[in-house]
Symmetry: C2
């Protein structure tokens, strides 16, 4: 309704399988993001794509598999962004900033794909839980390698710190998006959080006053 400039909603057009599949995935993502898993109906997804339900089931075995396909894409996207951010420089301060910005970009863009990862309503499904947990785990592990190397902490300790930083980025980015604040741009908010994170993590091994 508000913004649905779909690819080609002409009903009755015959598409090659891959194009149809892509269109179905896009439609499904819109519906899942807008309504969550449970409130999303397969009828809605089919209607949204301009096809009928059987075609949906010719491309995906069921609702769960369709959801998992989208979830996997979203998980890979954020993990890849974080890894890319960490690889983008050798300066740790820049690394922190780039990582925080990666989370903000992810939350701001991707047409809400982050909701599948960070606001899923299917976390009781083991397959979903496992993927969602692995995202935080993977991001934190990538961070913890840098932390552990530079701070001389053991694995468990650096993981706790890394998870804290990831949680900070994730929660604050979602908050920033929700209270969609025109007076505080994405860049500024992310810089502020990056500053907080960097002050916290820099030169960590020394025990302060």
């Amino acid at each position: 309704m508000s913004t649905t400039p779909e690819t080609a909603p002409k009903r009755g057009s015959r598409l090659p399988r891959l194009a149809r599949r892509a269109q179905l995935l896009e439609a499904a993502q819109e519906v899942f993001v807008a309504n969550g898993y449970h409130a999303a109906a397969m009828d809605d997804i089919a209607d949204r794509a301009g096809v009928s339900k059987p075609v949906l089931y010719q491309h995906f075995p069921g609702k769960l598999e369709l959801y998992l396909a989208l979830l996997d894409s979203s998980c890979e996207a954020i993990v890849a962004s974080v890894r890319e951010a960490l690889r983008s420089t050798e300066d740790n301060k820049q690394r922190v900033a780039a990582t925080i910005h990666a989370f903000y970009d992810y939350v701001a863009n991707a047409q809400g794909a982050f909701r599948l990862v960070f606001e899923s309503d299917l976390t009781n499904e083991p397959a979903v839980r496992e993927r969602v947990d692995r995202v935080t785990q993977a991001c934190a592990e990538a961070c913890s390698e840098v932390i552990s190397a530079d701070a001389g902490l053991n694995k468990e300790q650096s993981m706790v710190l890394a998870v804290s930083l990831v949680g900070m980025a994730q929660v604050s980015a979602r908050y920033w998006l929700a209270s969609d604040n025109p007076t505080l741009a994405q860049q500024q908010a992310a810089d502020l959080v990056a500053s907080l994170a960097w002050r916290g993590i820099r030169g960590f091994p020394r025990t302060e006053s």
Copy 2:
């Protein structure tokens, strides 16, 4: 402990209304915590309490209201703990530590009530979303007052920082609980995160190198 040494699961016993209601709430919390909202069946809750379904509906209008009653309790608990932690001292370093520890205590105790708040699978329901958001909002506002007062930042900026700290505490506490790590005690993990948070937030207004 983990198993269920319930109050009085003898089937057929007649309880006064308030006692019955309390028992139903406890049973419902166990089931909701274990299974989430959607996977939790009213039959399970009734069975767990040792009564039949109609009594459940004589005490609560429906599943949602039952859930909201529990959710409200859990929300009030964590917000009260955070406010208490902030009030417990005038030393900001101690404040940070106490707040982080409040989150860890909340996650570790309360027989998993935190799952209703931080891992709810009903966030699409506006009533639930509103309550869950208000928890982060309220905790962050309580923190931001201290931050804003001592750091001289405006409301939006201090709120972003406060939300970041709350997210750090919340996510890291849940991670610590999930990877139930015998080698890293709750105290140590919380202290580590508190150290990270305090390094990050202390003396914030000055812009460093």
